[in-house]
């Protein structure tokens, strides 16, 4: 066949783009495209004519897992790294299950590498110090006490110019700040503010107070203590 023939090229290209050139015929046609510029040009013309007509279709967002699967197929080396122990849903589920118990700490084995010590969890219960604040806050320390995260189990409603500040305190003596924590999510506490190893750290309890948005101006709790929990090792 003379694929340089314009009429023939045009007719085949029209069928190809319309979608009526099927199966083996289409594959033969596609194989020919590489060597026949006239065919390619005819296809490009028909694509420019017809394919924009698909713009009348209302877009249909694909489900989120489609992109995840595309990534897995293209870049398998990205195979999702295991989440840090405190990001795992199971962890927070377990923690919220415990929130009904009064101040409580325990070790949880949540897929930690073999030999790793389980984290220490402190559940701080609402004190009623502010009637608007309820629920609990979970603070969780790595066994070596060098890393910690805290999170309210439910979003805490605060005035816009107020923030939550987390404190630790010995049996006797002044509380020390562990920094501001988010009222609606996980806060990773800054290692510099942690007391180091939990055993012998002297931590007796943790507390959360309501402070001005920048944190306590005095270095000591100035607002009501709204959550309180004992550390038990």
């Amino acid at each position: 066949m003379d694929y340089g023939n314009k009429t023939l090229a045009d007719a085949l290209a029209a069928q190809y783009v319309t979608g009526t050139l099927r199966g083996g015929a289409r594959r033969r046609f596609e194989a020919l495209l590489g060597g026949h510029p006239a065919l390619r040009a005819a296809v490009a013309d028909w694509q420019d004519r017809l394919l924009p007509l698909t713009g009348v279709l209302a877009p249909e967002p694909p489900p989120p897992q489609t992109w995840v699967r595309i990534q897995q197929r293209l870049w398998p080396e990205l195979a999702v790294a295991p989440l840090p122990w405190w990001r795992g849903l199971a962890f927070w589920r377990a923690a919220s299950g415990l929130a009904t118990v009064a101040a409580l700490s325990l070790g949880l084995l949540l897929g930690n590498p073999p030999g790793a010590q389980p984290p220490v969890v402190v559940v701080l219960q609402s004190t009623g110090g502010d009637p608007a604040v309820a629920g609990s806050v979970v603070a969780s320390f790595s066994a070596d006490g060098r890393a910690a995260v805290a999170r309210p189990l439910a979003r805490v409603a605060l005035q816009t110019d107020r923030a939550l500040e987390l404190w630790w305190a010995p049996v006797q003596g002044k509380p020390r700040s562990l920094g501001l924590i988010k009222s609606d999510g996980v806060t990773v506490l800054r290692a510099g503010q942690l007391p180091g190893g939990l055993k012998g750290s002297g931590i007796d309890h943790l507390a959360v107070s309501v402070e001005p948005s920048g944190g306590s101006p005095t270095g000591q709790p100035t607002g009501p203590v709204v959550f309180y929990g004992k550390l038990q090792l």
Binding site: A14, T18, G19, L51, T54, G55, L57, W67, R73
Partner: protein, 210 residues
């Protein structure tokens, strides 16, 4: 969100062209953005042809896997990315229909005529516009109404069924209960009318632009 106007198609394609050229160099973030901007359209194109949602999702994955691998061969001078992607999506969707046909089909169960329950067919009525309605909309958007006037409703229907729903000539013939040869000539005539009309429209666009 409708994006029927040709200038709109071109504008979206320009943005996609940049992302596609970056994807060709291995930029995964650019590729993700390309996906975000085009996947809704391509999924709609596929679903129109392949109605099985889970198959359609698989096909959409394949489209983007192919697009990533072929990004380097995409020639922005010669083609618009949205056009290129749409062609890939359509080919895969049409191929999937052929594969599905090779498998046994479920027989349609006809209920007894005296059954007074509401007709199941009517309960499951497809809310999406029919192919002829889509063609009409597309024609309106591109002011092609006058090209279509010369065609009979069945001629318009035949090209719309083939183009939007991915039906083969034989399937169109079956659906319209017409001989295959007749349907083939209708499709050919409808395409010729569209072509002439679009070329005239492009010429007048150029005249206006000049």
């Amino acid at each position: 969100m409708m994006n029927t106007a040709p200038e709109d198609w071109s504008a979206r394609s320009r943005e996609l062209a940049l992302l596609l050229s970056r994807a060709a160099l291995g930029d995964r973030l650019a590729f993700k953005r390309l996906y975000d901007l085009s996947s809704g359209h391509l999924f709609a194109v596929i679903l129109r042809i392949q109605r099985d949602r889970s198959l359609a999702e698989d096909l959409l994955q394949e489209v983007y896997v192919s697009a990533w691998k072929a990004a380097a061969s995409f020639d922005a001078q010669r083609a618009q990315p949205l056009t290129w992607l749409t062609q890939i999506a359509r080919n895969k969707a049409i191929d999937s229909l052929r594969r599905a046909q090779a498998q046994p089909r479920l027989e349609t169960v006809h209920r007894a005529a005296d059954d007074d329950r509401p007709d199941l067919d009517q309960q499951l009525v497809d809310e999406s516009p029919g192919p002829a309605a889509l063609l009409e909309r597309a024609s309106d958007a591109r002011q092609l109404g006058h090209c279509m006037e010369g065609l009979s409703a069945q001629q318009r229907q035949s090209v719309a069924l083939a183009f939007f729903d991915g039906l083969s000539h034989a399937e169109v013939a079956e659906q319209l209960r017409q001989p295959l040869g007749t349907v083939k000539s209708w499709v050919r005539r409808a395409l010729a009318a569209l072509k002439g009309c679009l070329e005239r429209a492009a010429q007048s666009d150029r005249a206006v632009g000049a």
